[in-house]
Symmetry: C2
Subunit: 349 residues, 2 copies
């Protein structure tokens, strides 16, 4: 395993680019000494930042791009006018075989639209989804879609179920991952017509999938199922609600400790385990969402993350490549392909 | 203020009824010595439970009802066949003026459907919503709808904005509460067509409302706005995700402390402030959601709560009555009534 893994980086994407991007890849390189980076963006800005990180001196090539995609750009507009942007060029490097994956903290919609256009989707997949892991009482649960598709029909949800199942099998090593559809009640009669339709098909199908049924918002962290399937609107709100709640909890804890001298003494003793809990629920640790369903590896980092968070997103891309995940997902999709096609035919009318 | 407040209780609703219901009202009575209870349900079950609670001996009347509405009953079916149920009878007691509010931990859909049928809605309100407070970095934020209406159009969202504004003004004492529409991005181009339509009307309107614009999932706990408006599907998933995340955090903390002797010693010193944080984020503390928009006070408790949680839901009902909240909401709605009607006309076509 001495071949280096080249990862393509959108140097200009996100709220704190390019500073935290360069800091993040330096941290990622510390963890994975075999990574090399192709970083795209404004050379005049990137060069001095890279020069500050000694560890990047022999593993980082800067490719100058004059343009950047802003966070508020419409995906359609980004595609039309962004061919010289750092985002476009960094995705193209994967398509061209120069890099094995692309990581960006930039505009989610533009990353998705450009990735679909340049990389194309896996055979049988209409809509790629954003998939990531959540910490749970029982370990980790995969959830998708976290924001790629605001409105979904039953067919989209079925595709997500199939992809999520493959993802959990490959990444979490679970032989028969259980799948749950996120709803506002576990009873069959609850929720929207789209959800009822999707559940009906998943239940009655010959798909070789462990369909658990409907799950609710608190089932995510309970770890009731291995894969939680939902539309991108609900998934995104749920993800951000969870992040916000974790931050609130840490903040309350910090404030409370500051307010008491005895607690401060106590915390000196308890610090190692408190730090352990903070680390375990740190949203930055879970930063890095896979765009699953693409014919290539694209990882989206949170736009507002710091260097530590961005390094974790690079780590997700690295893991995807190391575990040859996309090829395994492709094989899984091929294996159940005929059934999926049949299901989609049912779902589409 | 020596007049007793009578609260009507659905004695048979929820996962652990009637045990935790009776425990809960006993705890509520300890906090509010002026409450009296009318409790509806199976007398043979309720009588011995009430007899165990000395504090209830002179403030609790049991009314026997042979039927109960199960958690999986469809609202339409509950209305047709549930006229002798504890839920129906407990709502009727409010309509009849025997009680000032009803509290139930039972079937949410049935409680909403029956309440609408028996109490009717406030003038100008088409769809009542479920509204509750969330703890935030800045204090508390009201959020609605938390699950009454799975699918909402722009008109529904406008009604929620108007009601949420009144709720925050009266309950949180904020002169000009800020309103945010929950979305998957704060930019104008994000989200569904329904959200864009609702935002457009709220922005361009002459409604005397501080419309902040779109907010995201993590803005809820940040306290970015005083009122978060969303459809009942998203609101319910978000609420339950937040509850699940808070539980996960506490569980991780407990496990970590157990694993280290030093941490256990430290925790003895820090215990008071840790307990304070736990109490501040305890979902049971926030148990009790108001069905806002009804011509009467109906409070829904979590179905799976315990006595402590149910007592808090009774406390919410008590506060609503003490602050004469519904009359104030009615006045507010009347004040902005003509504008609302105009908006609804716009929204409905």
């Amino acid at each position: 395993m001495s071949t280096p893994t080249v990862i393509s980086i959108d140097g200009m994407g996100g709220d704190h680019a390019p500073e935290i991007i360069v800091r993040g890849i330096a941290m990622a390189r510390e963890r994975h000494p075999l990574i090399k980076f192709l970083i795209f963006g404004d050379e005049a800005l990137l060069k001095p930042l890279v020069a500050l990180e000694a560890i990047l001196s022999d593993c980082c090539e800067i490719r100058h791009c004059p343009d950047r995609i802003t966070g508020d750009a419409k995906p359609s507009q980004a595609i039309r006018t962004g061919r010289n942007s750092s985002l476009w060029k960094s995705i193209e490097a994967v398509k061209a075989g120069e890099a094995a994956a692309i990581v960006s903290a930039g505009n989610t919609g533009a990353l998705m639209a450009m990735s679909k256009l340049i990389m194309r989707t896996l055979p049988g997949i209409d809509r790629p989804a954003i998939c990531a892991l959540f910490p749970t009482m029982r370990g980790e649960t995969a959830m998708l879609d976290l924001g790629a598709n605001a409105q979904c029909d039953a067919r989209n949800l079925l595709e997500f179920a199939v992809m999520g199942e493959c993802f959990a099998r490959a990444l979490l090593g679970i032989e028969r991952p259980t799948i749950g559809l996120l709803n506002i009640g576990s009873e069959d009669l609850k929720g929207t017509d789209t959800l009822k339709e999707a559940a009906g098909i998943l239940k009655s199908s010959h798909l070789d999938i462990e369909f658990h049924g409907f799950v609710e918002g608190d089932d995510i962290t309970k770890g009731t199922v291995d894969v939680v399937v939902t539309d991108g609107f609900t998934g995104n709100v749920s993800l951000k609600t969870a992040e916000g709640t974790a931050k609130l909890f840490s903040q309350f804890l910090k404030n409370a400790i500051k307010s008491s001298f005895l607690a401060q003494i106590g915390m000196l003793l308890a610090k190692p385990v408190i730090m352990q809990v903070m680390a375990r629920t740190d949203p930055r640790k879970y930063n890095g969402a896979l765009f699953v369903g693409l014919n290539g590896v694209a990882v989206k980092s949170h736009g507002g993350t710091d260097g530590f968070g961005f390094a974790n997103a690079v780590g997700v891309a690295y893991d995807m490549i190391a575990r040859d995940l996309n090829r395994r997902i492709g094989q899984e999709l091929e294996r159940i392909g005929s059934t999926t096609a049949a299901l989609q035919a049912v779902a589409s009318k």
